[in-house]
């Protein structure tokens, strides 16, 4: 049993990471941290106090972050939930780019726990 989290380069991503740490500590399990940002996590960025496995995106096979996450979930059978940060998107934004979060929710082999920022913060796009 383990919790996975997909961390994007955004406030939602950081929030998802915090929530996932709390979730994993609650359940007393390890954390599979899938880093979808464009930089490799440094020691300070990796949460301490629990067993964390960090997976960085690397190479053309990981170009699509959704594929990168699904591949990791399939490779780690012990994971039984995925934590994901989501946010409201503008109409224009939806038109131009697909949503990584939406595709992950629809394709994830394990239940997905979505978290968003406080109501006071969300909605600003």
């Amino acid at each position: 049993m383990s919790v996975a989290v997909a961390v994007t380069d955004s406030p939602e991503g950081r929030h998802a990471l915090e929530s996932a740490v709390a979730e994993a500590q609650n359940l007393n399990t390890g954390l599979l941290l899938i880093n979808l940002t464009l930089h490799d996590f440094t020691e300070e960025e990796i949460p301490s106090g629990l067993a964390v496995t960090v997976i960085n995106r690397s190479g053309r096979g990981d170009r699509d972050p959704v594929t990168a996450v699904i591949d990791e979930l399939n490779a780690h059978a012990e994971v039984d939930r995925l934590v994901l940060g989501v946010r409201a998107r503008s109409r224009v934004g939806k038109m131009i780019l697909g949503s990584v979060a939406q595709r992950l929710i629809l394709r994830s082999p394990v239940p997905v726990l979505t978290v968003h920022m406080d109501a006071s913060v969300s909605g600003r796009g």
Binding site: P11, L38, R57, S58, R60, V66, L97
Partner: protein, 481 residues
């Protein structure tokens, strides 16, 4: 330089982590020199094939009875081919290896040249120029990578610089050869075919020469062919250096693989998108300086300003000389001046000289006096452009992107750059015909002012910052919080 290639600054830079013995002397060094000479024929061809229309176009246009618009298409079809060649050449080089790709490109150079030389009509010529463009774009993406990968770390910069000089040198060579051919054999029918045929010499030299050159050790390692990589390294390094370098090369090959990580979905990250917009803007505005309108149509400009064809084609050589001198100065300045200062000064000078060209065409009465005045301002424009914005654009593109999205982001920017190159090439002759020199260069001056404003507002400073530090600062300022 008119156009260029990804320089891969960060991964090619000497790496402090690897303390390597001296590269050696004698035979390995000699071998490296041969490799560089052969491979930079790719750069020379790039320059010659883009520059040769400057001089060949007039007799060609008479032969086929071209309109201004179709003249543009004959020139621009090569740049459209190059846009695709630049994007896909890198992919082929990753899959097949650098050496095989350069051999293939040499073959395409030969076929494309023969197609142009033997073209029965304008349509065929446009098609053949597109094919030739695929080779030009492919060479722009592959040759510097091959050179950077086979050179020892302490020599990488100078090897890649050599290729840039060969590109501009190739253009200058085309201008000189055209002037000689035209002035001695101008009476011969279809003399332009002979001007284009000259490109066959370096293309054959590239093909034959590359047969005897080794594959890039870095590519071999990326394919897991370490034994072969060591064999190659032993040919171009001292034996002890070759052994020691395997580790460094393995590290660099792994870094290369990371560069292809990011893609379209990463543009959803605001600060990354902003960097890609800045990069695309750099390519867009570099071409809209109109540098290549001079490199492709310099002779025609001087003719229309009032010089005889034979004199104009000689006067045009000055454009090539100042281009080469400018780029030599530019390469030196790159390490001295802050990037923003150099860019903004460059665009200010460009706007200034464009304005002078536009005014000269109004104030000085048409005739040789106007033509010589225009030429003076043209070469000053070419010199200021090649001394600043020309090489700096490429350096900046290699510096601003996070490593994991560099391949994708550079692809976008280089494609934008080549397509803008094609658009300028396509529409310059009809614009000159319809609006005249004053309005056309007035427009270029206006665009240079827009470029100045765009860069003043958007461009970050990268000089003397390592990539990680630059990324942190940029993200803190423009990322979503």
């Amino acid at each position: 330089m008119s156009t260029g290639y990804p320089r891969r600054q960060s991964t090619s830079a000497p790496n402090a982590k690897f303390d390597l013995p001296h590269m050696g002397s004698g035979r390995p060094v000699h071998r490296l020199g041969v490799i560089a000479t052969v491979a930079t024929f790719g750069g020379l061809l790039f320059g010659y094939d883009t520059g040769v229309v400057n001089g060949a176009l007039e007799p060609l246009s008479e032969d086929f009875g071209l309109s201004a618009l179709s003249e543009g298409l004959v020139v621009a079809s090569l740049m459209v081919g190059a846009a695709f060649g630049a994007v896909f050449g890198g992919r082929v080089a990753d899959a097949w290896g650098r050496r095989k790709t350069i051999l293939l490109l040499a073959g395409v150079f030969i076929l494309g040249t023969l197609g142009c030389v033997l073209a029965p009509g304008a349509e065929f010529l446009i098609g053949a120029r597109f094919v030739l463009g695929l080779a030009v774009g492919g060479a722009s993406a592959t040759v510097p990578v091959y050179l950077g990968e086979i050179a020892p770390s302490e020599k990488r910069g100078s090897f890649v610089t050599r290729n840039e000089l060969m590109i501009v040198g190739g253009q200058l060579a085309a201008f000189i050869i055209n002037a000689v051919i035209f002035n001695f054999f101008g009476h011969v029918d279809s003399i332009w075919r002979w001007m284009l045929l000259v490109a066959l010499v370096p293309a054959v030299a590239l093909l034959v020469g590359m047969v005897f050159q080794p594959e890039s050790p870095r590519w071999l390692i990326s394919q897991g062919r370490n034994e072969e990589a060591l064999t190659v390294l032993k040919q171009v390094r001292s034996p002890e250096r070759a052994e020691a370098e395997i580790e460094e090369v393995t590290h660099l090959a792994a870094e290369d693989a990371k560069e292809a990580t990011g893609g379209l979905s990463d543009l959803g990250t605001r600060w990354v998108l902003r960097l890609v917009i800045i990069g695309a803007g750099l390519g867009f505005f570099q071409q809209l300086t109109g540098i290549n309108s001079v490199m492709y149509y310099g002779t025609q400009l001087l003719t229309s300003a009032g010089l005889d064809s034979g004199v104009a084609i000689i006067g045009n050589i000055a454009n090539g000389v100042f281009s080469l001198a400018g780029i030599s100065l530019g390469m030196y300045l790159l390490n001295k001046l802050p990037r923003r200062v150099m860019f903004l000064t460059g665009y200010a000078l460009i706007a200034f000289f464009h304005t002078l060209i536009a005014l000269a065409a109004v104030i000085v009465p048409p005739g040789p006096a106007q033509a010589w005045t225009v030429l003076v301002f043209l070469v000053l424009f070419v010199f200021s452009m090649q001394g600043t914005v020309g090489p700096l654009t490429w350096l900046m593109l290699s510096e601003i992107f996070p490593m994991k999205i560099r391949s994708f982001a550079m692809g976008i920017c280089v494609f934008v750059l080549w397509i803008m190159n094609a658009i300028v090439a396509q529409f310059f002759p009809p614009l000159i015909e319809a609006m005249g020199m004053t309005a056309t260069f007035g427009m270029f001056a206006g665009i240079a002012v827009l470029a100045f404003i765009f860069l003043a507002l958007m461009l970050p400073e990268t000089k003397d910052k390592d990539l990680a530090q630059f990324e942190r600062e940029f993200k803190a300022e423009y990322g979503r919080r």
